[in-house]
């Protein structure tokens, strides 16, 4: 069995407005990642794609337009969980010898109308039971979940604020982030309410862009020490403030051979602050949320989403599922520029998403290790 190695990561810069199509963004990300790996299109024999706005095209259409000849192909529609889902399968494919050089790419360009269409008809339950209320996108659902979480954990608005505030401090050093200006607690609290208690900076700015990874058989780079997924853990009959990660945390850490205390940085799926905290708690990274928020994050500046996360860098549709992987790989390869975390060796990356009715049903996580 050949070990798989992530040898390059690339993010095609996010933009609030662009005339480029999803296909052009995906193609640019593939080109960028292959360039960083020192490889060419002719070297690739595996492709995994996630994109809402690629439709009606599929992974194979993209492969054709990119001129790729493939032994392995995959497409994943599971939004915030798609990046790690693709990674999980790509690693296995390389280990099994089905592919030798795999490119994983995720990205979208959703204009306002396309975004509204996507959120209104995200799935049948949404179209039938939520959109007619009317519910316009997921903000109100996560506002309800935040209230539930706040009551359960005794947290206040100023506590949740520590997530976007700390990530904004990191984003100042990421030239690709949409929000880079420093954000004070007063500014955070004074921002318009989107759906109480959520304010503007609790919601991701919608952008266009794409992220890509290159995996090869063997070689130096980043190794996937463990990956675990748990989807539809409770049939949408729970409270929604615990994710599937709670059920696989032990398996993940046992597989990685390390504990949550040994992690140097974490890229946690941050569609809303409340869900970033839920995932950290589920994986045992923040046994006391209040202490974590005001101690590790606010006081110590611990690297949670050092790209600024989606809350500051932006959410480019399905690229949100790969954004954290790309940031973690850049950090572990020592290519994170101004925001490079010192001696970064172990990273936790999570994925979360796919609101079936009241909350996200997909969750997965990976522990990555930089191997010089």
């Amino acid at each position: 069995m050949t070990a798989a190695s992530i040898v390059a990561a690339y993010e095609e810069p996010y933009a609030r407005r662009t005339s480029r199509t999803a296909e052009q963004l995906l193609a640019a990300a593939v080109r960028g990642a292959l360039g960083a790996a020192g490889l060419g299109h002719g070297d690739v024999d595996g492709l995994g794609v996630s994109s809402f706005s690629l439709a009606p095209d599929h992974a194979i259409d993209l492969a054709w337009r990119l001129g790729l000849r493939l032994d392995w192909i995959m497409q994943d529609p599971h939004g915030g969980a798609s990046g790690i889902n693709l990674l999980q399968h790509a690693v296995r494919a390389i280990e099994a010898g089905d592919a030798r050089v795999v490119v994983l790419v995720a990205g979208d360009h959703l204009d306002r109308a396309a975004f509204a269409r996507l959120t209104a008809t995200y799935n049948r339950a949404t179209a039938e039971a939520l959109t007619p209320l009317p519910l316009r996108g997921p903000n109100a659902l996560f506002a309800l979940l935040t209230q539930r979480h706040a009551a359960a954990h005794g947290l206040a608005d100023a506590d949740y604020a520590q997530v976007p505030l700390s990530q904004r401090r990191w984003a100042a050093r990421n030239p690709g982030a949409v929000y880079r200006a420093p954000l004070s607690l007063d500014e955070y609290l004074a921002a318009p309410v989107v759906a109480a208690p959520l304010r503007r900076f609790d919601c991701v700015p919608v952008v266009a862009g794409a992220d890509a990874l290159v995996l090869t058989a063997g070689g130096p780079g980043v190794r996937v020490r463990a990956v675990a997924s748990r989807h539809n853990p409770d049939g949408q009959e729970g409270d929604g403030i615990v994710t599937g990660l709670a059920q696989v945390a032990d398996r993940l850490w046992a597989g990685a051979g390390v504990g949550p205390g040994e992690i140097d940085l974490a890229c946690v799926y941050d569609d809303y602050p409340v869900m970033a905290l839920a995932q950290l708690a589920d994986l045992g990274c923040a046994p006391d949320l209040h202490a974590f928020l005001h101690g590790r994050l606010a006081r110590d500046g611990w690297p949670l989403n050092p790209s600024g996360g989606q809350l500051s860098a932006g959410q480019a549709g399905a690229a949100g599922g790969m954004h954290g992987l790309v940031e973690a790989v850049l950090q572990l390869l020592g290519r994170a520029g101004e925001r490079q975390v010192d001696r970064a060796r172990l990273a936790l990356v999570t994925g979360y998403g796919m609101v079936l009715y009241r909350y996200g049903a997909c969750a997965n996580a990976a522990v990555l290790e930089g191997v010089a």
Binding site: A114, A120, L133, L135, G235
Partner: protein, 621 residues
């Protein structure tokens, strides 16, 4: 009530329905009625919709909409929308009207005004049809009035096809003449009483009116217009009832009335309304408002306009009673409504806002009105109006040229939206080239009906205007709308009222709705004025509330967190009143023409370097 999916094997209920029971994987799922739930969390989204997570007695958590501000922990009925504080939950309310007019399936040849009156007189006989002040006409009286008016008109030489203009307020002679014309095959031309000089001259000559029925107060206006036309002055030379004439056979497509458009731009055009159009107005609006023969309809809108005229036919089609008020008065409105015994009423333009801004009074709920037709209701007004007055506002879309094209079930009203496409109509949203725009993008509403003669047949003796309006065989409404992916349509602007500032399209309505919610503002109009750079600047004319004052700098600062930066007005005029049409619509052409004056407040954009351009007033350095 909503229906959960219940498992026949283990008894566990869930929502929304899955393919198998989420607990035991049983496949025998049956509907379980569920009538109430406890509110666990509540939030209000950016559009003002109050959404809640509620838990039923069986533990099922459902996301729903609350129509009132109820505290967490309250028990709310599910979908019982008539009660304040009720939750609307999907599956509970149908989208389209379910009430069915008994005259919907009337055979086509019977879809004429005389046949409707005769049919309903046979059924309702001595029941009151029309009430105006102390006078009441029964259904039978209405037929007799129409037949004898036709007789009187014939005696004076009026022939089928002749146009009879009307220049009068809400009085029975006006209705009597309209019905008499329908009986005789003549054509009634009710004119806006605000018409003067050239406008009046145009309407009289364009319609070729043979006679004008005029009330005494308005004869001077006729003198000024200077069109030599025979006058029947109400109370003087207006004819006494003549011999009863049998109704002249009419086809559903025969023109029965010509209504002149309000003409906010250009010369008014005469809209030819066929007989069947009134039948369909009666049926469709009656279905949207669920009008039955128990209802009393009260309108104080002007009878020369399509809205009040159609309300009469809603009464006829449902066997209800139609009470004609004199004119809208905010201070008298609820007293008039109560005196009429009204259960249904009609609101238009600024009336909703005007009624809401009046101080609360005991008379607010001392009436029987359950529902009101209120096109283009501001989103925030729905809940406020229902809570304060106990009246459900029903939105919709229709025009003199069309019929009721958009609407929704009373229980399914979505604040800020006109409705969905009603049965019998087809709708598209198109760009300037007539191509469909994607859902979510603004475009012009175009429509057509699948029912013959449900719409106007064209503009009177103006084939060029008719062809232009019906290009590609779709009626072009001139209204800019957005259709959401789920089929709901939202009004943005008249095409002529849209604003374009530095590449951004701005809906004047959206800006108006934000400013209107400012506590110091009684009324507002937002419109385009030329920019010294290019395209437009946004300007607002604001009327302060009684005794109050509006500070433009404070007002625009207040807009900052509520509007896109580019949509915040640069210019503000504080005015005592807005120029209105007789129907209460703002005449924006007048405001645009007045433009920026020496007294206009100008939020000159801050110089370069100001990050929050426009979000705060700029003072002297």
């Amino acid at each position: 009530m909503i229906e959960l999916a219940g498992c026949a094997d283990c008894g566990h209920p869930h929502f929304p329905p899955r393919a198998v029971c989420p607990r035991c994987h049983g496949t025998d799922l049956r509907p379980v009625p569920c009538r109430e739930a406890v509110v666990e969390q509540v939030t209000v989204d950016a559009a003002g919709t109050r959404l809640a997570s509620v838990r039923t007695a069986t533990g099922t958590v459902v996301v729903g909409r609350l129509d009132a501000d109820v505290p967490v922990g309250s028990v709310v009925p599910l979908s019982a929308w008539r009660e304040p504080g009720a939750a609307f939950v999907p599956g509970g309310a149908p989208l389209l009207p379910t009430h069915r007019s008994p005259l919907r399936d009337l055979p086509a040849p019977d879809r004429t005004v005389p046949r409707l009156l005769q049919l309903q007189a046979r059924r309702y006989g001595d029941k009151p049809l029309v009430v105006r002040g102390a006078t009441t006409w029964s259904y039978r009286d209405a037929v007799e009035r129409a037949a004898r008016m036709a007789g009187a008109m014939a005696e004076r030489g009026i022939e089928p096809g002749d146009r009879i203009a009307l220049l009068a307020g809400n009085r029975l002679e006006l209705l009597e003449t309209v019905l008499g014309c329908a009986w005789l095959g003549a054509i009634a031309v009710p004119l806006n009483t605000a018409l003067r000089g050239a406008g009046l001259r145009h309407a009289l000559t364009d319609s070729g009116a043979r006679v004008v029925v005029v009330e005494p107060d308005l004869t001077g206006v006729l003198d000024e217009a200077g069109v030599p036309v025979e006058r029947w002055v109400v109370g003087e030379t207006f004819p006494a009832p003549g011999p009863e004439l049998p109704a002249r056979p009419a086809a559903p497509g025969d023109t029965v009335a010509i209504l002149y458009t309000s003409g906010t731009t250009g010369l008014p055009k005469g809209v030819c309304c066929p007989q069947a159009q009134f039948h369909w107005w009666g049926v469709t609006v009656g279905e949207c408002l669920e009008i039955t023969d128990d209802d009393v309809l009260y309108t104080c809108l002007p009878l020369f306009h399509t809205n009040a005229l159609n309300a009469f036919f809603q009464a006829v089609c449902a066997g209800a009673t139609y009470v004609l008020g004199e004119r809208f008065s905010a201070s008298r409105f609820w007293a008039d409504v109560r005196e009429a015994g009204a259960t249904v009423t009609y609101l238009l333009g600024a009336m909703v806002q005007i009624l809401l801004t009046r101080p609360a009074a005991e008379t607010d709920t001392a009436h029987r009105v359950r529902i009101a037709l209120s096109p283009a209701t501001p989103a925030a007004a729905h809940a406020a109006f229902r809570e304060r007055f106990g009246v459900l506002l029903v939105d919709g879309y229709g025009s003199t040229e069309t019929n009721m094209v958009l609407g929704a079930h009373p229980a399914a009203q979505r604040p800020g939206y006109m409705g969905v496409v009603l049965p019998d109509h087809e709708v598209r949203v198109v760009d300037a080239d007539g191509l469909d725009v994607p859902d979510g993008e603004p475009g012009e509403l175009v429509c057509r009906s699948r029912q013959p003669y449900a719409y106007a047949t064209g503009y009177f003796e103006n084939p060029a205007a008719t062809a232009a309006a019906y290009r590609d065989l779709w009626f072009h409404t001139g209204d800019r709308v957005v259709r959401e992916p789920d089929g709901w349509l939202r009004f943005l602007d008249r095409l002529t009222d849209s604003i374009r500032r530095r590449g951004e399209n701005i809906s004047s309505l959206e800006v108006e709705q934000v400013i209107a919610t400012h506590p110091a503002v009684a009324a507002v109009a937002v419109y385009a004025v030329p920019s010294e750079l290019s395209e437009d600047e946004v300007m607002a004319a604001v009327v302060p509330r009684d005794g109050g004052r509006v500070d433009p700098a404070e007002l625009t600062a207040w807009c900052a967190p509520r509007l896109a930066r580019f949509a915040i007005p640069r210019y503000v005029d504080v005015v005592a009143q807005l120029p209105l049409t007789e129907n209460g619509k703002v005449r924006k052409a007048v405001l645009r023409e007045r433009g920026v004056t020496a007294t206009t407040w100008d939020r000159t954009p801050p110089a370069a370097g100001a990050q929050h351009g426009g979000s705060a007033p700029v003072g002297p350095q």
